[in-house]
Symmetry: C2
Subunit: 234 residues, 2 copies
Amino acid sequence: MFSEISTTDLVTQISRQITEAIVTGRLKPGTRLTELQLSREFGTSRAPVREAARLLESQGLVVFSPRRGFFVRTLTAVDLRDIYELRIGLELHAASLALERIGQAEVAGLERQIEKLYRLADAGSAESQIFEDFAFHRMLCAASHNTRLVKVYDELATEMRAGITLIGKLYDDPHRIAETHEPIVAALKKGDRKELLEALRDHITVAQEAVVALFHRIEKDDTDAQNGPVWHCG
Amino acid sequence: MFSEISTTDLVTQISRQITEAIVTGRLKPGTRLTELQLSREFGTSRAPVREAARLLESQGLVVFSPRRGFFVRTLTAVDLRDIYELRIGLELHAASLALERIGQAEVAGLERQIEKLYRLADAGSAESQIFEDFAFHRMLCAASHNTRLVKVYDELATEMRAGITLIGKLYDDPHRIAETHEPIVAALKKGDRKELLEALRDHITVAQEAVVALFHRIEKDDTDAQNGPVWHCG
DNA sequence: AATTGTCAATTTGTCGACAATCGGCACCGC
DNA sequence: GCGGTGCCGATTGTCGACAAATTGACAATT
């Protein structure tokens, strides 16, 4: 009845802020996260920062080295391959379940989301289009009505966002992004499982190949240029 | 050269111990985890306990209510359905990948594991058979050579163990457990994807239906008997 | 008798402090 | 010049303490 008094505790607040900083690229991979610095930044003591950092570690956003501290995780091309590969398994399974459980309102929501993608393509706002793109796929997963699955997908999504932000943009034509979602919803409405799974797999594989290829190039460049990547928090 | 000086930090140690206590049923669902009590139990201060508990929360083993503390999560029948449903998606995807990537040594490992299951069936040690059963499926997932997938599977497995422990035993005939793994490896060796996926899906679905049905009964009993479940840490 | 209000005991949230440890730098012997 | 060694500042690991909040019981009121 009444909405929760949103006294989101300090730890949640801090972990969200750090997450945001990582996925938007403000904190670059490899950056050391010193507890003292973070605690000063947030105006708290070190205890909540430590707890928040540990949370982020379990989500794979930062790595923790005992007695050395926390570092923003550097994703490799192999990591990205694994992440997208896992996403394919997860999202196709979700879609398959959604086929039997999705309601009319949810289908309508997916269609509205596609229109939103078209509008953002016209507006030329690439960053928010990426955001809404993720929202579409999350809605699809949520239509599986399997909360545990959605939770895993959310974690995966933050990792993907972290990877994509490093690249900048994924597609040349923003309208194509919106378009490529149409066949998915079309198959879903038809109730055609085979078509749905194929459309989804194609859609995700395209993204996977683009991201992985770019990461391979980045890694190659990094090793070519002898100086390591210039990762430092600004 | 030298094995790691296993100074696994306190937090990891504590979280492992609590996890073990939960999955073995020593800590029953709904039990409140007071920081002071735990810290006394482990002979530490509250700080490491808090961090460990937050870790467990992100894995879904305990729930956290701000200003109220940590509680051992009570799994519902719906939770178990979701968990096993997700497992099906995850493990079938892993098997599909394994088909293309598994090496001879890994196949041999799976076969040895089945033999171990037979031996444990003869020895009549049900608990360790469950443990080795999980090990088999973990090996199968690991054969996907997708570390991210294995990580998610591990988290899922601890939740499943927590659920199964509450039940006691899952099958009547321990030899059947070992047997039902044979067709999976057989299909894997033949390279027959369709057969592999069907065998796996059947195998997991059997477990899912058994667990979910038992949880439905438990929940029904709990509501029938007006007194709530007697959850207290011994 | 049921509900509300009050209070004490317990527990969480956060903090600052101290010891242990790590990384880097100068120093030393070769 | 170079590799090893010992020191020093910085950072983490852990702790005990205090304020704020919650719980449960008991008394007061309708």
